[in-house]
């Protein structure tokens, strides 16, 4: 397939995954801010800004971290490249570029998200209807996934799209885990209820709360959470699950010469596939995840070089 089309599909899927991640992140932070004591509220609200690395830009544009400011900045602000509004616009732009490769259903799902997003931006979002919007964002993501899964030919167009999804998802899981795990550990010195909420916030941010309950039961232990989100293959947002898909997709993609991205992905996959919780504990979660993020970025860059950055 065309290199340019592969790149647009890859980015289209990354953006759509990102919109969903942001909605979850924001949803959890706003809920946590309601539960928290007033002095810790700001810390909760700043999580989405830390994960996306936009705290400074936010402060420049808005000053105080209030729920409404956060909603405006993360959902609707077109000055903020990672606002859900801009993300969906970018996804739709990329989709427009590759309309020839998309089924009518997939195009419709993305275009409709964009049309509805534009309307949302007109009407505005407040604290009281924010959770509806988060539901909407997640639902739009599900519809896209369903349309893609149900209607697209399993060609390289599909594979490059899926690669975008899992690169983005791995990146998001690692970032959220890194920041929220640290907060949850810090809260353990405080009372038990507070700590429990911190851990559930982390799990909810990655749609893994129910999975934790089923695998480990009620008692939330930090090392279990790390294991769940890194090593458990069956958890859809775990790093293991993402890498598993990435490696399989790179095998399926039609390939000319030997491809470096494939080797890099397999090597990272092996680390996780044969990794264990003791090693992570020994190494320390933060250094472990920092290393992971660097490697997943390198893989993403290499995929673009191998298949999309075209040199004669």
């Amino acid at each position: 397939m065309l290199s340019r089309a592969a790149s647009s599909l890859f980015w289209m899927a990354r953006y759509l995954e990102r919109a969903e991640s942001h909605a979850r992140l924001l949803d959890v932070s706003l809920t946590m801010a309601l539960i928290d004591v007033p002095e810790d509220r700001e810390e909760q609200l700043s999580v989405p800004l830390l994960v996306t690395g936009t705290l400074e830009q936010f402060k420049e544009l808005y000053g105080d971290i209030t729920p409404q400011h956060l909603i405006d900045f993360m959902l609707l602000d077109n000055r903020h490249p990672a606002s859900v509004f801009n993300i969906i616009q970018s996804a739709r732009d990329n989709a427009l570029h590759v309309r020839g490769n998309l089924s009518a259903d997939v195009w419709d799902s993305i275009n409709l998200s964009w049309l509805e997003m534009k309307e949302l931006r007109e009407t505005g979002v407040t604290e009281s209807n924010a959770s509806q919007i988060f539901d909407w964002t997640r639902a739009r993501s599900h519809i896209f996934r369903g349309a893609a899964y149900g209607t697209l030919l399993r060609s390289d167009a599909f594979h490059f799209m899926r690669l975008g999804t899992f690169i983005e998802r791995a990146d998001n899981t690692a970032r959220v885990l890194d920041i929220r795990h640290k907060m949850a550990i810090a809260s353990q010195n405080e009372h038990a209820t507070r700590s429990f909420f911190e851990w559930t916030a982390l799990l909810h941010s990655l749609a893994a709360f129910e999975a934790y309950q089923q695998i480990y039961g009620h008692n939330i232990l930090p090392i279990n959470v790390a294991e769940l989100l890194i090593l458990q293959l069956d958890v859809p947002r775990s790093l293991h699950a993402c890498l598993h898909e990435i490696v399989a997709l790179l095998e399926q993609v039609e390939s000319g010469d030997s491809r470096k991205a494939r080797r890099m992905a397999n090597s990272l996959y092996a680390n996780i596939h044969y990794g264990d919780r003791e090693y992570i504990a020994e190494r320390g979660l933060h250094p472990y995840l920092t290393d992971f993020l660097a490697r997943i970025h390198a893989i993403a860059g290499q995929i673009q070089k191998d298949y999309m950055g075209w040199q004669r």
Partner: protein, 477 residues
């Protein structure tokens, strides 16, 4: 709902002179009269939402980027009887055949010029004539593989060819999407009326494009200027329907006079380019050096016979308004047949006698630029102010060769939904004619309608809308 009666002296598609419903409109008229206004209003809203969702929007040149607009879609179809279509079809086939023969001739033997049917200056001095196309052998001697012929029905009830579009005619996606929309909104209508299907157009187009190359299984691509082009939706739509890649200039490159596309597995040779970019922008090395849309070296590859362009370069000379008056003579000259479709009588202002007549009768005439398109830069005499008339008279005297003039035709009308209900509005018709191993077309075309009362300008850039076009499979309905 009530259908307003058509104006005096006009041909109406639905009512005959005695205000009786024409037989091929009976089903539709019956439905219209019995339809509730609120239901129709509801369906119109639904159609708008659906078109937005499909993303069938277009940009108007000279307006804000990103101001995506929908071409207004009218719910009342334009119906063509089986016998009318039979005649149109043979006429179109004949005309496009002759035009392709003409193009081959003026780039090879110049028979028509030697025979004195058309004078040399008008062909060779035409800015659209591409000397570089001389003696280039094209598969099947085809130049305009995809032609869009604009027709109108005059008040004598006959169809006239208004214009031949032999370069990159657009609008076919509206023909297809309008039909899809009608079937979705009013399935019951299609159960009653024997409407000929059009949805095999992309299949025929694919067949035509593959036949443009002599290779057994050629690689075909659609070349688009990009997503900001007003017809991008159509380019992507056709590529998807045909299962071929849609490419931009930057996706292609030329090496050793062969064209390749840049794919995820390396270069892949391209054999046929269905290009939706004008001649001048195709290759910055031979055409407009500023062009970012084209492919450097494409012209060389084309001249070497390693790639086929559809349509060919240099077809513009045959659809130029100054050549238009000669099409009936071309048909006689190349095919030894009498033209089936009528031409609109045309005064060529280059001829002193014609210019004199035009200047004397300016308020009755339509004056067009010989190379204009899209309804820009034309004068409609009967609608013009005296200031506009004076202005055009000056233009004509200054550069007579640039203009042709025609009588103001009364385009036929068809009932159309407007704010005040259902009223007659003027329309035209653009069928798409495909030339490959044979000349083919689907029964139908793009019907454009002028939405303002009395207006004769149907171009979408000037506020025109579109309708579904029904060709009936038998006459009584």
């Amino acid at each position: 709902m009530l259908i307003q009666t058509p104006g005096e002296g006009l041909y109406d598609e639905l009512f005959d002179e005695g205000h009786r419903v024409r037989p091929h409109y009976r089903t539709l008229e019956n439905w219209l009269v019995n339809s509730d206004e609120s239901l129709i209003a509801e369906k119109r809203r639904e159609a708008n939402v659906l078109f937005q969702r499909l993303g069938i929007t277009f940009n108007v040149y000279g307006q804000d980027q990103g101001s995506d607009r929908l071409i207004p879609f009218d719910l009342i179809p334009r119906v063509i009887s089986a016998s009318d279509w039979q005649k149109l079809q043979s006429g179109l086939r004949q005309r496009v055949n002759a035009l392709n023969r003409f193009l081959h001739d003026i780039y090879h033997n110049f028979d028509i010029v030697k025979a004195g049917v058309i004078n040399a200056e008008q062909v060779f001095a035409n800015p659209q004539y591409q000397p570089g196309m001389q003696n280039l052998k094209l598969p099947r001697n085809l130049y305009s593989h995809i032609a869009g012929i604009d027709l109108i029905r005059h008040n004598d009830g006959d169809f006239y060819v208004l214009e031949d579009n032999l370069r990159c005619p657009s609008g076919v996606s509206y023909m297809l999407e309008n039909r899809r929309m009608m079937m979705r909104l009013f399935p019951e209508l299609f159960a009653e009326a024997p409407v000929a299907p059009v949805d095999h157009y992309p299949a025929l187009l694919g067949e035509t494009l593959r036949a443009a190359s002599l290779k057994p299984d050629p690689t075909v691509v659609v070349l688009t200027p990009g997503r900001f082009n007003s017809a991008y939706f159509e380019h992507a739509f056709l590529a998807r329907q045909m299962g071929v890649e849609i490419v931009e200039g930057a996706d292609l490159f030329v090496r050793k006079n062969r064209v390749y596309m840049k794919t995820t597995v390396g270069p892949q040779q391209v054999d046929v380019i269905y290009r939706r970019i004008d001649d001048d922008f195709l290759d910055p090395l031979s055409g407009n050096p500023q062009s970012m849309l084209g492919v450097p070296g494409l012209y060389g590859a084309y001249r070497s016979g390693n790639v086929v362009l559809t349509n060919a370069m240099g077809t513009g000379v045959a659809d130029d308004k100054s050549i238009y008056p000669y099409v009936p003579d071309m048909i006689r000259f190349y095919l030894s047949e009498e033209p089936i479709l009528k031409n609109v009588p045309t005064w060529q202002c280059r001829k002193p006698k014609d210019l004199k007549y035009v200047l004397e009768h300016l308020p009755e005439l339509v004056v067009k630029e010989a190379q204009g398109a899209g309804g820009y830069g034309m004068l409609i005499g009967p609608r013009a102010t005296s200031k506009e008339l004076r202005h055009f008279a000056d233009l004509l005297k200054a550069r007579p060769c640039n203009y042709i003039a025609q009588p103001t035709l009364s385009l036929s009308t068809c009932p159309t939904f407007v704010n005040e209900g259902i009223a007659p509005r003027h329309l035209d018709l653009r069928p798409f004619v495909l030339s490959g191993k044979k000349v083919q077309m689907v029964p139908g075309g793009l019907t454009r309608v002028a939405l303002e009362e009395g207006s004769l300008v149907v171009n979408s850039s000037q506020g025109g809308g579109t309708k579904d076009t029904w060709v009936l499979e038998d006459d009584l309905c």
